[in-house]
């Protein structure tokens, strides 16, 4: 519970469970509270009867939006508050469980205005037109998708197809363009509506069926009577599908398993009482086994562990005694970390300040401004900011990017960073490698090759690594003052004086020298 407003007789509740849509409505929360507080026993929603409504499903919907489930809830006559609650349930379910209406979406209609059989079919975007909800003008399907606010928001779910889903009744009147919008004539529900048709369409049969159950169960909480409808799919040998399916599912729960997982010693009877409060009618089937009923709308119950969590919540987890695990294990840092720590220690001893910079940066920083050519780097598909579009392949640019903001700060500036870089393997299989590197920069009026080489030598001598520096050229560095660091035949890094054009490119004005190395394995035993 988030807050309690006694004056307005209301409470706000935070619902974290994104797998628990049955409590995404006032009706659902009231139902859960009633059982939790012991005011009522959990009871499966009842199917009051069959309606005469038939739905014929067009096979052309196959690749577009193949599934539909419908039900008529009679005798509702909702209050303003009830309507508000249902609309909010519809929106929340379409958004989250329905994945922004892609996987499933809900529609409400005045059942009495609709003639059976419904046809769930496809319509030509330009030749089909109806008056969308809240409007007075007839619009073509394409106009709705391109101009109506709901069309603009959700049109992406269907716009790539040539023909779009369309729901019509026995007289050919349009009910809706799923999952975009209802018609203004049939799809407007108000406080005078006695009988409501609930319709769910979508791309996943289970999701569509589950959504319908949750919605009709919520309507039934206000006294509505649930009636089933019949869907006929055109596929060969397909049986009619009767919805909603209000049958409970049953799971066996092992008392000993539950006690082991909770670290508790509850007796079967205690567990049954707790399960009932959590909304699961249960009985003891054998000494260790409870037979637990999950009501049709409890779509979150996939496994025994889901029941065990409900059990723990019903019993209050704060009543469990925390206990540090009585197991003996040997702790330790990763070898990679140990190696980095050794290097950091020496660099700090040499007077260098450690830095932390983003590894997610942009080629503008780690390629263009360093005047190098380099194509194979890890680039994002969906960057959020132009300054964070790719993973860096080396560290030095990140350090210069920091130094450029510090030209007013006392020199000499001597800094280093140990951090991750991403290398893309050239084998074309898309494999990348996260490689930790170390880079150091010294910048001041007298910074130069000898100074940085001394640091490099000291660093590598400290870890006992044999190496050589051989002349090389690299456009970021000054020719004749740049060396490749070789360990045996392997190139492990570069050391040199930064090229004046690079220094200027970063808005710096003092001589600078740097090295960058792949983290070498520790040679000292």
């Amino acid at each position: 519970m988030e807050s309690l407003d006694e004056q307005n007789d209301s409470v706000s509740i935070e619902v974290k469970d994104s797998n628990h849509p049955d409590i995404w409505s006032i009706e659902g929360i009231a139902r859960a509270l009633r059982t939790h507080l012991g005011i009522a026993k959990p009871k499966a929603p009842i199917l009051s009867g069959k309606s005469n409504l038939m739905v014929r499903v067009d096979r052309r919907l196959g690749p577009i939006r193949p599934f539909i489930a419908t039900s008529i809830v009679r005798n509702v006559r909702p209050s303003e508050n009830a309507l508000k609650s249902w609309i909010s349930l519809q929106e929340k379910m379409d958004l989250t469980y329905g994945r922004k209406r892609k996987r499933s979406s809900i529609g409400f209609y005045q059942a009495d205005l609709i003639k059976s059989p419904l046809r769930y079919t496809v319509g030509n975007p330009d030749n089909t037109a109806f008056v969308p909800l809240g409007s007075t003008e007839k619009m073509t399907l394409r106009d709705i998708v391109e101009k109506h606010p709901k069309g603009i928001e959700y049109g992406g779910t269907i716009s790539s197809f040539k023909e779009w889903p369309l729901l019509t009744d026995g007289e050919g009147k349009v009910l809706s363009l799923p999952p975009i919008i209802n018609s203004n004539d049939l799809g407007k529900v108000n406080t005078d509506t006695k009988n409501i048709l609930v319709e769910v369409t979508g791309t996943n049969a289970t999701t569509v069926g589950n959504t319908l159950k949750i919605v009709v169960a919520a309507l039934a909480e206000r006294g509505g009577k649930i009636h089933s409808c019949n869907q006929t799919y055109a596929d060969k040998g397909a049986k009619p599908v009767i919805t909603p399916d209000l049958r409970s599912s049953f799971k066996e729960l092992s008392v000993s398993y539950a006690n082991r997982l909770l670290g508790s010693t509850f007796k079967p009877a205690e567990m049954i009482r707790a399960l009932v409060r959590a909304g699961h009618p249960a009985r003891q089937a054998s000494k260790d086994i409870l037979r637990v009923e999950s009501l049709c709308y409890r779509i979150d119950i996939m496994h025994q562990v889901d029941l065990i969590e409900d059990l723990a919540i019903a019993l209050d987890i704060n009543k469990l005694d925390p206990e540090w695990p009585r197991i003996w294990t040997l702790g330790g840092l990763a070898p990679e970390t140990e190696r980095s720590e050794t290097l950091a220690e020496v660099m700090i001893g040499l007077g260098y300040q450690e830095l932390l910079t983003y590894s997610l940066t942009s080629p503008e920083v780690f390629i263009d401004r360093m005047d190098i050519e380099h194509e194979n780097y890890a680039e994002l598909l969906n960057p959020k900011m132009s300054t964070h579009t790719a993973m860096r392949s080396w560290l030095l640019p990140s350090i210069l990017n920091l130094l450029k903001d510090n030209t007013h700060v006392d020199y000499p500036q001597k800094v280093f960073e140990i951090g991750p870089c991403i290398l893309v393997r050239e084998n074309g299989e898309g494999q990348t490698e996260t490689r930790y590197k170390i880079a150091a920069v010294t910048i001041h009026t007298a910074a130069g090759f000898t100074e940085i080489r001394s640091c490099l030598d000291t660093l590598l001598a400290s870890i006992g690594l044999q190496f050589q520096v051989v002349p090389t050229t690299q456009p970021s560095f000054l020719e004749g003052r740049t060396g490749e660091v070789m360990s045996g035949q392997k190139r492990i890094g570069v050391v040199g004086e930064l090229h004046p054009k690079i220094i200027r490119a970063w808005g710096l004005s003092l001589p600078a020298a740097a090295f960058e190395l792949e983290i070498p394995p520790t040679a000292v035993a």
Partner: protein, 500 residues
């Protein structure tokens, strides 16, 4: 008294009590600005008086420099005449002295005026007669005295002053006005000079003094140990990384082994192995960074588990679960993403060959999510994550682990637990910690991995999984309000952060 002040006082005393700033500078080796500063201090304290005098200084013109080197024209002509036997025609004399003919009247005029010779007018022209080499006169004395420098006119005796006037008129000398500052030591200043204790008061001890034993003979000048000194910038750990090191150390002492792993992962490792359905909202492009290049990686390294994970998503496989009930896509699984949560590293630990049971593993994981940077959001951030594996584990142990973290890592006074939801854990628990002055805070999420997570990976024991909001913990620890400060580019701030 400052060292420079003493120097100035001593120098003034040694120079007889009064001296120009230039003289003091020459003697002390101090720059003018330093002397100016000292004299200001000293005059405020009444130890020195400043006098400003205006002087006229004279110096040679270009012509003057020529005569300085070669002699005045009248001298040169007189010498020629004398050397020629005492008589010569004026024009010949001027010519032989190397002077142009328009000098005739000037030269004859000066020789006559100075009384060095006579002009005899004859029918063949004017003859110049010089009977003896004239002695050096005042004009020449002044010229020699000035030489290459400037001297104040006031310093010259009256007769030479007259010579200067003449030479100025002849454009051989020029003059300029100059303001000169002089310092005069007062009796008070004299008294203030510290006694010269020994012959050698020195400022620095040398190796030679130490070895030779001379240190016994000298006296080291006392420093003002209270005065400010230049500041240094030592090499230090980055403040946030220092904090992460502390957290790592604590976890290691609690028996956790560190896990590391790649920042670029397949969606398979990042999400599928955690039983997050492939259309889960957290996998949309708004919540997860996908790679454009390279966009996919082979699932070959995971071929032993891909099938089981796929089955579990579809129908629960052998886990006893209903599964998510959708068609699993290997294509989707092979997409490359930037690691979006530290739990991906827990997956890495669980599928690693070296996994030990019982075992405790942790990771400080750099993670990425498509967020715009603001006071509370980073696009690249850290999570502390970990798992505990053992057949004996229960929810009570999960609470025990959380309680230990709250007390040891966050320094919390009290803890409480709330139910939570994650797709990959059940039961799931939120840790709330109470700290004096901060109140109750949400501190981390945790749970026991679902069998749908562990069983496809070949793990048959309960696995406790926990995550701590390590960035937020650091902000609380350092009273940082803006999360962007963790990756600040402000070197000054980084340098100023306290250690420990």
């Amino acid at each position: 008294m400052r060292e420079n002040d003493v120097k100035v006082l001593r120098t003034l005393r040694d120079l007889g009590g009064t001296a120009s700033v230039e003289e003091v500078a020459r003697k002390t080796g101090l720059v003018d600005a330093a002397i100016a500063r000292s004299s200001l201090t000293l005059s405020e304290q009444g130890m020195v008086k400043e006098q400003t005098t205006r002087t006229t200084e004279v110096f040679c013109t270009e012509e003057g420099h020529d005569y300085l080197a070669n002699g005045l024209p009248e001298r040169r002509v007189a010498v020629v005449v004398h050397d020629a036997g005492g008589k010569l025609s004026v024009s010949d004399a001027v010519e032989q002295a190397g002077l142009p003919l328009d000098f005739v009247s000037i030269v004859t005029g000066w020789i006559a005026r100075k009384g060095w010779g006579k002009i005899e007018k004859t029918s063949s022209g004017n003859i110049l007669a010089v009977s003896k080499n004239p002695p050096k006169d005042e004009d020449e004395e002044v010229l020699a005295r000035i030489g290459q420098v400037s001297i104040p006119i006031e310093e010259l005796p009256p007769n030479l002053k007259r010579a200067v006037d003449r030479l100025l008129k002849r454009n051989i000398l020029a003059s300029k006005e100059r303001t000169q500052r002089k310092l005069e030591i007062t009796p008070q200043g004299l008294n203030a000079i510290p006694a010269q204790a020994s012959i050698d008061e020195v400022s620095s001890l040398t190796s030679e003094m130490i070895l030779s034993g001379d240190w016994e003979k000298i006296r080291l000048r006392a420093y003002n140990v209270s005065s400010p000194v230049p500041s240094l910038n030592p090499g230090k750990y980055h403040p946030y990384l220092r904090f992460l090191r502390t957290v790592k150390r604590k976890l290691v002492t609690l028996g956790f082994k560190e896990a590391v792993g790649p920042l670029v992962e397949t969606a398979f490792i990042n999400d599928d192995c955690l039983y997050m359905p492939q259309d889960h909202p957290a996998r949309e492009i708004h919540d997860l960074y996908y790679l454009k290049h390279p966009s996919k990686a082979s699932l070959e390294p995971w071929k032993d588990i891909v099938e089981k994970v796929a089955e579990t998503h579809q129908n629960g496989w052998k886990t006893g679960s209903a599964g998510w009930g959708y068609k699993y896509s290997r294509e989707e699984a092979s997409k490359l993403v930037l690691r979006s949560h530290g739990t991906a590293l827990s997956v890495r630990s669980m599928i690693s060959k070296g996994l030990q049971i019982p075992g405790k593993y942790f990771a400080i994981a750099r993670c990425f999510r498509p967020e715009l940077l603001d006071r509370t959001h980073l696009t690249e951030f850290n999570q502390a994550e970990g798992i505990v594996l053992d057949p004996s584990l229960s929810l009570r142990n999960l609470l025990g682990v959380l309680e230990m973290f709250a007390r040891e890592v966050a320094g919390a006074d009290k803890v409480r637990f709330k139910p939570d939801y994650f797709p990959f854990t059940e039961p799931s628990v939120e840790l709330q910690a109470y700290k004096e002055g901060y109140g109750w805070m949400e501190f981390g999420g945790s749970g026991i991995f679902r069998p749908e997570v562990t069983e496809p990976l070949g793990i048959k024991v309960p696995v406790i999984a926990w995550g701590l909001g390590i960035d937020r913990l650091y902000m609380m620890h350092r009273q940082i309000q803006d999360i962007r400060q963790l990756f600040t580019t402000d070197l000054e701030w980084i340098r100023q952060q306290k250690v420990g």
